[in-house]
Symmetry: C2
Subunit: 227 residues, 2 copies
Amino acid sequence: MLTVHHLQVSQSERIVWLCEELEISYDLKLHKRDPLLSPQSIKDLHVLGAAPIIQDDGLTLAESAACADWIIHKHGNGRLALPPSHKDYAKYLYWYHFSNGTLQPAVSRMLTIQLAGIKADNDMWKRYVAKLDQYVQHMDDHLSQSENPWLAGDDFTAADIMNVFTLTTMRKFYQLDLSKFKNILAYLQRVSKREAYKRAHEKGDPDLEYCLEGPPPKSFLSSLSKR
Amino acid sequence: MLTVHHLQVSQSERIVWLCEELEISYDLKLHKRDPLLSPQSIKDLHVLGAAPIIQDDGLTLAESAACADWIIHKHGNGRLALPPSHKDYAKYLYWYHFSNGTLQPAVSRMLTIQLAGIKADNDMWKRYVAKLDQYVQHMDDHLSQSENPWLAGDDFTAADIMNVFTLTTMRKFYQLDLSKFKNILAYLQRVSKREAYKRAHEKGDPDLEYCLEGPPPKSFLSSLSKR
């Protein structure tokens, strides 16, 4: 039996959603942040100390994309990935790797310098916020094309699952405003209508508001500081 | 004909090395930093404005891992990736994605806060430097095991190609000291003996010193500021 360890309000929501899309059977273990960082229960499972972590027949595996590829190819018969023979293989590869190669690091970087006390008048802030804006605009432009209802084209794929976390829940940590990105907002509405997305949310994060609108959702960090 | 655009002293060295390992024919175009960032010639090729960029029969593709997967599966018959049936598939996936999912973002994060003027007495600095140390130690521990001459086990794979940039050339930007990580240093010596690695270096970055020793190599940033 495949076990998925999900740290609530984290990127491991990708793996819960993936399992729901693939309609495979899995055992879901929920972990809560303590109060912001990974709890000991996650650290005890894997030296990285970060979710997602999956367990499968003696294997313990971390890293979002590694877990996704494992589940897709060992449990999903390759569904939600596109094979090299597919006409949209390049699009799939690009957007699949864009998530952790470009978009998520750009948002994390803003969160990092914000937490380190850097203010918006700092030159690095200005440069990095402009870079992030460029990346999001790039995705919005891509989704503006009628042949791209999903990131890899006609087919919903794991490229969508990898990127949506950064466009939604991640904004509870860094308050990215998506209001001007109309194509991304329309895309997130399409995402929100997927039954598997709703099931993943209900199972993994029933207390978390959906983060699908343009203005940033309520900060997770500020909710902690009010305790 | 496959064309590889390589920005010198950058992560696109991965793709040059990959092509040399696969012994495929490709056209190599070299670009120089201007003086630190991507030159206009890279920005003109792809909206991301970052190398690597490959061109292949009408396709223009960016993102290191996307370019690597494309070349492996469209030009290399899947060599240097491990298939789902391989006993070390999980190891391959983990370390392949660890490169851009964990290691490179952790080093980039340090570079970012350094450039933003954060000092080593800042709590965020301390926390992130400890995290980075933990990740590198994790890799060192993995490589200390005799069954792991390479990151995915017995076989040299694209997981090695993805991670080595961060352990070598990236240290010209953030001065990571590897002196205490003896297993990583021994691993880098094995890397340096690969003919394809040497060829890639000669073709892509003939003026760049090899960055294979423990102490950080001479800073690329300080060489700029001395101009």
